[in-house]
């Protein structure tokens, strides 16, 4: 592929959502770590074969949407009315083009629909009935709600019909891993960055509630001149502070990827008492994975021939990268 940029080393980061710190079985831990590694592998393969950052983040997120372990696509949480309303967004850092969908129902891959909003319409965002109408025009098969929800989550929803209770409980550590939005950021060999994110929302949310994920600058942002960010956590807090644009703004002023990420999360805690996590890539390939200290977040970074991954605070494992790429 012809490009004016010198070749750079591709990087891809994925996360499987930042939930409160809870005791979960080793089996669940392993399953979440396997989930992020599988997703990362799919995205990194795209990069290693010369594909774009945009295609790579989409591929990674689609794998997590397919995995019922994560709250996106299959595995989404029902609203107060028992429906599943999903949000997703994708952004191309080379053109600043955005595609996003919110409150879309009964499809497997909201991220694929978000990509089509970007590629096939003059718009950035479609919501609700209009998003489903567009899905139909694009030939997406309708999936019954039952296929998207795990039985245990349906039970949860019955127990927490009031969103207020759900939020208070969820944001206080000690119970359930409740809103594990998924996301990916990537830098390709041509120096392009992109991000993608997808979520099934917070259980028992009001119908029509939209969190940070599908909102540009809130759930993520990508700009070839600086880098790419995507977030997970208490959506309303990320929205109020527009955390991704804050991180990139600091990076633009010369702050390192790690310091910019720390600063933004500290800022969010101070201004609106919000918590969550971010994954960040700089245009030079620097990376940061960070979540506030009351949360755990499964993540994986693919760079060179190494994969680094972890789930608990401060934890980092390392392996060699998948031979097939």
């Amino acid at each position: 592929m012809a490009s004016s940029h010198p070749e750079v080393e591709p990087v891809l980061i994925v996360h499987g959502g930042a939930g409160p710190i809870v005791k979960i079985s080793q089996t669940r831990v392993d399953s979440k770590l396997k989930g992020v590694k599988d997703a990362g592998k799919a995205g990194y393969k795209v990069l290693c074969e010369g594909g774009s950052a945009l295609d790579a983040v989409q591929a990674a997120v689609m794998v997590m949407e397919e995995n019922p372990e994560f709250n996106a696509g299959r595995g989404s949480r029902p609203t107060a009315l028992g429906d599943v309303e999903m949000d997703a967004m994708i952004m191309d850092g080379s053109s600043l083009q955005v595609g996003s969908v919110a409150c879309v129902k009964n499809i497997h891959h909201p991220i694929e629909l978000a990509r089509m909003v970007m590629d096939k319409t003059d718009h950035c965002m479609l919501v609700g009935v209009g998003a489903n109408l567009f899905a139909r025009q694009m030939g997406f098969p309708l999936v019954p709600t039952e296929e998207l929800v795990r039985e245990e989550h349906r039970k949860d929803a019955r127990e927490h019909t009031k969103y207020t209770d759900a939020v208070t409980e969820l944001l206080n550590p000690g119970k359930d891993d409740s809103h594990d939005t998924v996301g990916a950021v990537a830098l390709d060999a041509q120096g392009n960055v992109a991000f993608a994110t997808s979520t099934g929302g917070i259980r028992s949310q009001l119908p029509g509630r939209v969190g940070d994920s599908p909102l540009v600058g809130c759930g993520g942002y990508a700009d070839n001149d600086i880098g790419a960010v995507t977030c997970t956590g208490h959506g309303e807090s990320f929205m109020k502070c527009t955390i991704p644009t804050r991180i990139l703004n600091k990076m633009e002023q010369g702050v390192s990827v790690a310091d910019a990420t720390d600063e933004a999360l500290t800022y969010m805690k101070r201004r609106v008492n919000g918590t969550g996590g971010c994954i960040v890539i700089g245009r030079d390939g620097q990376t940061a994975v960070k979540c506030t200290d009351n949360r755990m977040m499964p993540w994986a970074i693919f760079q060179g021939d190494k994969v680094k991954f972890g789930i608990n605070q401060g934890e980092q494992f390392e392996g060699t990268c998948i031979s097939q790429v």
């Binding site: 600043l96 950035c124 965002m125 209009g130 567009f134 309303e236």
Partner: protein, 220 residues
């Protein structure tokens, strides 16, 4: 800011509340946001139908829920719960909006062309600072004529169509929604102010930046 925007929503001249433009299906879908710079609390609604004052519904999202944004049928459900009276769709639609829509259907013009011809998207907005130094912003719109059903522009998206922060200032935007979203225009303005630009110079820089990066036009 809510009071000012309500008056603009009532004015048939503006594309917000009464006077909103029609989407491709011939319906009115409205978006609005309000933000309190003291607490960074915000409320927004998108794709809401059949109410006279979307900005006041946005205010209720901020005051009465744990959420920041509610869209589509959920927004209308919320309006009903609050006892906000439904207005018949025809009451929001002006002859001009109807004509523009018919013209679009006659010529099948693309959204971009509609934008260039300056047809129908006069989003309204207001920013204010009070005597205690608190800032706030509000924006309300009927969108672009012949937009797809469910299309959401910059207006209700925090940091794109509006942003308010007591530590910097308040911004409300209007123009080509998709371009404003691509550069998160309101936030670009506040970041420039944070780095020491005056309000006017931050606004100028941000508009030039949007033109350079995505060839977008609009105002703040």
């Amino acid at each position: 800011v809510e009071t000012s925007v309500r008056i603009l929503e009532d004015d048939v001249v503006f594309d917000a509340g009464t006077g909103s433009v029609l989407n491709s299906a011939g319906d009115v879908e409205m978006d609005a946001i309000i933000m309190d710079g003291r607490s960074l609390r915000a409320g927004s609604v998108a794709c809401v139908q059949n109410i006279a004052h979307p900005v006041s519904l946005a205010r209720q999202v901020m005051e009465k829920t744990d959420h920041t944004m509610i869209v589509g049928e959920g927004a209308n459900l919320f309006a009903k719960e609050l006892g906000i009276p439904q207005v018949p769709p025809d009451q929001l639609v002006t002859d001009i909006a109807r004509q523009q829509w018919e013209e679009y259907h006659k010529y099948k013009r693309a959204v971009n062309e509609l934008f260039d011809s300056q047809l129908g998207h006069d989003t309204v907005g207001a920013v204010a600072v009070d005597s205690e130094g608190n800032v706030a912003c509000a924006t309300s719109t009927g969108g672009i004529t012949a937009k797809r059903v469910g299309r959401v522009g910059d207006s209700p998206v925090i940091g794109c169509g509006a942003y308010a922060d007591n530590e910097t200032g308040a911004v409300s935007c209007t123009g080509h929604g998709e371009a404003i979203m691509s550069v998160t225009l309101a936030r670009t303005v506040t970041f420039n102010m944070e780095q020491g630009s005056s309000a006017q110079s931050a606004a100028d820089k941000s508009i030039v930046y949007m033109k350079n990066r995505v060839d977008g036009t609009g105002g703040v």
